[in-house]
Symmetry: C2
Subunit: 328 residues, 2 copies
Amino acid sequence: MMSLMSASAIASPNIAFIKYWGNRDDQLRLPSNGSISMNLDGLFTQTTVTFNPDLEKDTLILNDQVADQQATSRVSHFLDLVRKLADVNLKAHVYSKNNFPIGAGIASSASAFAALSLAATAALGLELSEAELSRLARRGSGSACRSVPGGYVEWLAGQSDADSYAVSIASPDHWALVDCIAIVQVEHKPIGSSQGHLLANTSPLQHARVEDSPRRIRLCREAILRRDFEAFANITELDSTLMHAVMMTSDPPLFYWSPVTLEIMTTVTRWRREKALPVCYTVDAGPNVHVICEESSSEIIREKLLQIPGVLHVLSAKPAGPARLCQT
Amino acid sequence: MMSLMSASAIASPNIAFIKYWGNRDDQLRLPSNGSISMNLDGLFTQTTVTFNPDLEKDTLILNDQVADQQATSRVSHFLDLVRKLADVNLKAHVYSKNNFPIGAGIASSASAFAALSLAATAALGLELSEAELSRLARRGSGSACRSVPGGYVEWLAGQSDADSYAVSIASPDHWALVDCIAIVQVEHKPIGSSQGHLLANTSPLQHARVEDSPRRIRLCREAILRRDFEAFANITELDSTLMHAVMMTSDPPLFYWSPVTLEIMTTVTRWRREKALPVCYTVDAGPNVHVICEESSSEIIREKLLQIPGVLHVLSAKPAGPARLCQT
């Protein structure tokens, strides 16, 4: 019986080209706007969930350490959703590990909740469709819904819990892009994304950013489908800056860019404009810069990035597949 | 006769706390939103205009050099407005000199067209009211209308040429603020303000920025009138970032911030938040940072700014009076 109530899954983090920032419903994590991302290959969270009648409470081991109360509580609340779906009342032991370091500029909550969704539902014998799994993952962390399908992914904002989930718009091998993540700083970010989302509507610019988002979604989706790097670069950089414009004008203001972040951004744009290199930037809620390029240029971009003062190292990732079950 | 047709005037540049960016009418320089500024004492343009029946065309000597065709043409077109007002058809010799260096991070067009407006009208015997003079200066360079009245100034956006002009909202001695201008770079800016204004409406954020501007104008005016530094600082920094948000998301994007600009901005905010220093920043269409503080703290702020790597030097200016006639 025990073996049937345990399952393991792995999922990759993702980098958004059209960003998620702000919710129309914070409780359900219904986003203010749709988003588009790429899963990142070679980076993953592996999570094993074991439901056990002998447990009195949920436990979480995160990266080989007993997790703190806040993280455990977030996972436990998420497991309540899974227990409700399966109509069981068993506590679980969750073992979760990332193969990328904390503070590497990659949010782990997306891959973590995508892997947790798949492992927990499988452990209880639930067989969810990809859309159902994506909806579920969204409840743990908004962007986790995008780590459920594979390759290039669009999160359909939707109107309700039922229709807010992510779908694949192109497979990993559709377009050989590489995310060269320029790590500039290994510090905790000043404010976490979950808190940051709550501030989005305090910016006088958020409404305009959201209102314009269907246009950006369309331009980005079409650029990916046509493999049009120039169009992709322009809309990706614009969307990144729009998100940071909202962040920097919220109350209190959130400045995630460091001076080195800005230096990399303007340098990357110059490489594209002046040297015709297929490269552009996007920046998440932290100072590291995701430098997106075509695979044919990824080695030269990596070397050039390492020459910029303040760049500590560069992690590279190609498009990854969907969340999947695996052996423990 | 000759002596009656010559006049000299001086005017100070100004620093905007609520920024002017984008026009509702580019030809008439009717701004998309109202703005608030402070004239900068100790810095000025001095301009002498001499109308002369013997001249075949307008000539311009700018900072002791014969000006290029572009600058001469801009001045000549402006003088056409003055000639029309006075109903004369005489060409003029214009001698104009700034006491602050080009590339010092201070736009000279505001003080230049304010001084030119006053000198040219006086030379032709016109006696314009302050509002009429401000309207006229606006036609040469939008922000020049704010260098006509003294002290703390509000540019009433207006609906037409007739009601778009600046008025003083507080005298120079109302509040002892100091603008400590941190000069980080002596380079020409990538794109001039006149061209930049034309791009404002290509940003998805400009409409929201403009729509929210009456609120910011009110908050800034009230903070100045009450001498409430904390309220003044918050709205001034927000407004600066809103303008740069529009610039950075226009098509093509305009990035005026350099890495050092960003470093100074975040450092200044930290001084206020963590050390309770009465200091805030505002940034115009260039990389230099206008660090605004109360006079009692200006010496310590100046010294602290000079310790930031990348700050070349610091210029300081108190509130200045209006444009005025002077001896040649």
